[in-house]
């Protein structure tokens, strides 16, 4: 489609056909404040902060919903518009619990940014009645908390759950001043249809939806999610030598920045003290018990639960011993007698090698994978 040319604040701007004024302005480096706009989901224009003056229109229009037209003349910040924005911001702040110092979102909060950008005189902080909203914080979800007292009703979370996740676990319930994000029948998140993917949390512009683990990473590592065959691209945020956060890779053609509960929150296994670092073998198995093994005692490292189905203790052995044991055991069987199951925790390369080994060395197609898709 052809482009359109419009005039924003006296600057000639070219925009894609069908682009909104907001996109056109942002692409041209012109700032228009907004709170409820999120490029990943549809715009609904409810925060009213992106109102701009368009020549020949009677009322100011929301830039996030108004399509740029050829020859349009737009002013983003005349005194009238600035005044409206200040009043709207003042109203939002009068309704917001802004104990910023204790807020995990501080520094990354869109509302803070707006206050800085729009400019706010001190007297405005106390001019209106501060409403002491005292709604209970929903901490039921194991990964993130929902604090309705900090919610600005931008509905980005609702739109995300509907448009991106398709789960519709939340919607805007009630009306007027009582309007709020709610699950069905006001259930706590962990009892609701919520799948804890955290997509909403990722997009929340303020401190209403925040991760329980509020550590900031100091570097990021790009990798692929090991959980299933989709292979979502993700960035692991690392602090020291510990993973503290995961986020979807916007550039990844597979997931375009989105993640599910496993990819986003399921990285704890990496540093789990329960994680096995050596192969284990059942202690009573006399058949191949190597001489150098050390028994694991009850007081020592706890034995991993899923493995202790029968009596008998596990012992740690080294990789050479383990491979030797498996090879000698496998020698008793051949072809279709053997079945192989591999793990999603392994890398794709490892899985590839495993199936190759199964098919060409063990000579069987009985191969499966826990996340077969």
């Amino acid at each position: 489609m052809s482009d359109v040319t419009l005039n924003i604040n006296g600057i000639t701007v070219r925009a894609d056909y069908g682009a909104t004024i907001l996109t056109a302005a942002h692409d041209a480096g012109i700032y228009i404040p907004t709170l409820c706009h999120c490029p990943d989901v549809s715009s609904i224009g409810v925060c009213r902060l992106c109102l701009v003056r368009i020549e020949s229109r009677r009322r100011p229009e929301p830039a996030c919903r108004t399509i740029a037209e050829e020859g349009m003349v737009v002013v983003t910040d005349d005194p009238e518009i600035e005044r409206l924005r200040r009043v709207i911001l003042e109203l939002i702040l009068s309704d917001h619990d802004f104990n910023c110092l204790l807020c995990p979102k501080s520094g990354q909060c869109r509302l803070q940014e707006l206050v800085n950008r729009i400019g706010f005189k001190e007297h405005r902080f106390n001019r209106l009645d501060r409403v002491a909203k005292d709604l209970p914080i929903d901490t039921s979800n194991p990964f993130f908390d929902f604090n309705p007292n900090k919610c600005v009703q931008c509905t980005i979370c609702v739109r995300t759950c509907h448009e991106i996740v398709g789960n519709d676990a939340i919607d805007m319930a009630y009306r007027s001043y009582d309007i709020r994000v709610s699950t069905f029948a006001d259930q706590p998140l962990n009892e609701s249809a919520c799948m804890s993917c955290g997509e909403c949390m990722e997009r929340c512009p303020v401190g209403a939806l925040v991760p329980k683990k509020a550590e900031y990473p100091n570097r990021e590592v790009k990798t692929t999610c090991p959980y299933c065959g989709v292979g979502c691209g993700l960035y692991l945020g690392v602090r020291g030598n510990t993973i503290v956060r995961a986020r979807g890779d916007d550039e990844s053609p597979v997931n375009k920045g989105n993640l599910c509960i496993r990819g986003r929150f399921g990285y704890n296994f990496v540093d789990s003290p329960d994680r096995l670092s050596l192969p284990l073998m059942r202690a009573y198995d006399e058949f191949t018990q190597p001489s150098s093994v050390v028994e694991v005692t009850e007081e020592g490292r706890p034995v991993t639960l899923p493995l202790v189905k029968r009596e008998g203790k596990f012992v740690e052995i080294n990789w050479d011993q383990a491979i030797k044991y498996v090879a000698s055991s496998l020698a008793h069987y051949k072809g279709e007698e053997i079945a192989a199951v591999s793990s999603a925790r392994c890398t794709n390369e490892e899985n590839y090698l495993f199936q190759k080994f199964t098919r060409s060395v063990l000579k069987t197609n009985n191969i499966d994978h826990c996340a077969r898709l």
């Binding site: 009213r48 902060l49 409206l84 009043v87 709207i88 109203l91 939002i92 309704d95 409403v131």
Partner: protein, 642 residues
């Protein structure tokens, strides 16, 4: 072709052509010519609440007792508009107008008026000014200055009887249009009439129709907006209850003009009688094949269903109403796209108010030119107002556009009762403004009222006298607005809340200097920045009251004075010791024992206990007149110094 219809076969008579409608009308005429006397009992909601159903039952019973069924017919009609005087009965060939009729009056009306053709004087309306008795509806000043076009059938016909409606030229306009006119011709006619939407915004109906007609798409919808949410307004209720077929006919005409075959009437659930009458009307019209497939053999199809509202004022807004019909929360969507292009289920949709559609059937019958000659050059036709509040004649009045407010309130409404002074009139409900005394000669019209800071709106007209506190009224409307805001957009959700809080503070004696300025600033932001018509207009009551009654706000804020003695935190009662005869009356009546005193000991009010209910003032014998109600900071100070 058939030449006549027997009345017995009317029940399952089907109208298959324009000709058969004419035939039916003539038959009904001939039949009712021969039947005897008629007594009509108003069974509108107003009269029903006053007991008109018992009156009707009494008529039926007595007439049966006297075996007069063949001579006297009892008919129930819709609202006369003069609900305050209900139950209303119109009796006999002379059409004598009786008011406040009870079932005990029934035998007398039967024997005197219906049999002897005499008048029962004591049930007549008496003009409070001249003291003259009025025999007929038209003699009453309340009706004299009205011009009833939309309400012409209300109170005359039985709203559930399709025969009654056909008799008063019902469906004639429809027949003419679908058999002789093109849709474009109909739209031209509506444009020529100058009809504007009666729901509030006043958008020209013809242009709306044309937009929907030209919008691409096979499927289109006509929605009748009967979600009359403005508190204090009930004109749509009366039309739907009293003349439902007019609404159906208007919708069908709109359907033909726009190219729609489906209509939906959205009615408030608070109006059960309207729902009942409309459903009956739809069922009867469908039975007679006046609704449905191939109407009158012209190939025009139209069907109508009813959707009940679920209690949200904002659903009067077009996009919210559509969302509600689609089964969603009634949250307005930004326009464009306009419903006329993308409405219900994404299809072109016309939403017209009840009164607008009732007007359409009148225009279609008499022509656009006829209609355009009523009213003023800029505002055509008539408008129904619901005249309520501190006015003698409370009720529905339909006047030509351009009638002055003074004529409506004083000539039709009979002025302010109890000798009180007029203070202001609030028009347009929560979206409108207050108009002070000096603008009473303003002719009603869309632009003239807008210029005065108010709107016609749906037609609510609240009269206030000197005992009404303006700040309290503004607080009332903002309370309503903040409850009814859908809550999605910031300025409306939080702005109305803050405005309400400030107004509440002022009425509670906690007003601060600068409050008025903040109110105005918030009003402007809510007006300019809100998404929908609700947010754009709800600050109007505040803006207009500050404009005309700023002094009263200032008195509340700076002097803690409420001149109207309404705001409880700003008034207090005290007993004038020199007038108190220590009669114990107030002492015994006080619900909270706040009065100190005894026999032979002058009474005194303990202000810390007083809840300001006013009981003491009410019970103090008039000849003593010892209790007074005072307001204002100076009064408080004086009292404390004493």
């Amino acid at each position: 072709m058939e030449k006549s219809i027997s009345i017995q076969s009317l029940e399952d008579y089907k109208i298959g052509s324009v000709e058969s409608l004419r035939l039916l009308r003539e038959t009904i005429f001939a039949d009712q010519q021969t039947t005897g006397k008629l007594v009509s009992v108003c069974c509108g909601s107003g009269c029903m609440s006053s007991g008109s159903e018992h009156v009707r039952d009494a008529f039926v019973r007595k007439i049966k007792d006297h075996e007069l069924e063949d001579e006297i017919t009892v008919k129930k009609t819709g609202c006369h508009g003069f609900c305050e005087r209900g139950p209303i009965v119109v009796a006999g060939p002379e059409k004598i107008f009786y008011q406040h009729v009870t079932k005990e009056d029934v035998p007398e009306i039967i024997s005197e008026t219906l049999i002897e053709n005499r008048v029962v004087e004591r049930l007549l309306y008496e003009d409070p000014v001249t003291g003259q008795k009025c025999f007929h509806e038209n003699d009453i000043p309340f009706y004299q200055k009205q011009r009833r076009i939309v309400l012409k059938n209300c109170g005359i016909i039985d709203p559930t009887s399709i025969e009654d409606y056909i008799k008063v030229d019902g469906f004639r306009a429809l027949a003419k249009i679908i058999s002789q006119m093109t849709p474009e011709g109909v739209i031209e006619e509506i444009k020529l009439s100058g009809l504007r939407g009666r729901g509030g915004a006043g958008f020209p109906a013809g242009i709306k129709w044309e937009t929907a007609r030209n919008a691409p798409g096979e499927e289109k919808y006509i929605i009748c907006n009967g979600d009359e949410g403005d508190p204090g307004a009930f004109m749509d209720r009366s039309v739907m209850e009293g003349d439902p077929y007019s609404v159906l006919e208007g919708m069908m005409i709109a359907g033909y003009a726009v190219g729609a075959s489906q209509g939906i009437i959205y009615v408030r659930a608070e109006y059960p009688l309207a729902v009942h009458h409309l459903s009956t009307a739809i069922a009867r019209a469908t039975d007679m094949r006046l609704l449905g497939h191939n109407i009158m053999g012209t190939g025009f199809n139209f069907e109508i269903k009813i959707v009940k509202g679920a209690g949200a004022f904002v659903c009067g807004e077009e996009t919210a109403l559509i969302a509600s019909i689609e089964g969603k929360s009634g949250r307005p969507k930004p326009k464009p796209p306009f419903p006329a292009i993308q409405g219900l289920w994404g299809k072109p949709t016309i939403i017209n108010n009840v009164e607008t559609l009732a007007n359409v059937s009148r225009i279609a019958l008499n022509g656009g030119k006829w209609y355009s000659e009523i009213g003023t050059p800029t505002d055509k036709g008539t408008k129904i107002f619901s005249l309520v509040g501190k006015v003698r004649n409370v009720g529905l009045v339909e006047v030509e556009m351009g009638t002055t407010l003074r004529e409506i309130i004083f000539d039709i409404g009979g002025g302010i009762p109890k000798g009180k002074r007029f203070k202001a009139v609030q028009t347009g409900g929560p979206s409108g403004g207050c108009i002070p005394e000096e603008l009473l000669d303003l002719p009603v019209g869309y632009e003239s009222l807008a210029k005065a800071g108010s709107i016609i709106g749906s037609g609510g007209m609240l009269v206030m006298d000197e005992d009404t506190c303006i700040v309290n009224i503004a607080r009332y409307f903002l309370d309503f607005a903040q409850n009814e805001s859908c809550g999605q957009c910031t300025p409306c959700r939080l702005g109305t809340k803050q405005m309400f809080k400030i107004l509440q503070d002022i009425t509670r004696g906690r007003g601060k200097p600068g409050d008025i300025e903040i109110l105005l600033e918030l009003s402007d932001a809510v007006k300019q920045a809100s998404i929908c018509g609700l947010g754009m207009t709800v600050p109007n009551p505040v803006i207009s009251t500050i404009q005309y009654f700023r002094k009263e706000y200032e008195e509340h804020i700076h002097e803690r004075r409420c001149q109207a003695l309404v705001c409880r935190s700003l008034i207090f009662y005290r007993i004038k010791d020199y007038r108190c005869k220590a009669c114990l009356k107030c002492l015994q009546a006080c619900p909270v024992d706040a009065i100190i005193g005894a026999k032979w000991q002058v009474h005194e009010i303990d202000q810390s206990k007083c809840i300001k209910c006013g009981t003491c003032m009410e019970v103090c014998p008039k000849r003593f007149n010892a209790v007074e109600c005072v307001t204002g900071l100076t009064e408080v100070l004086r009292d404390q110094s004493e």
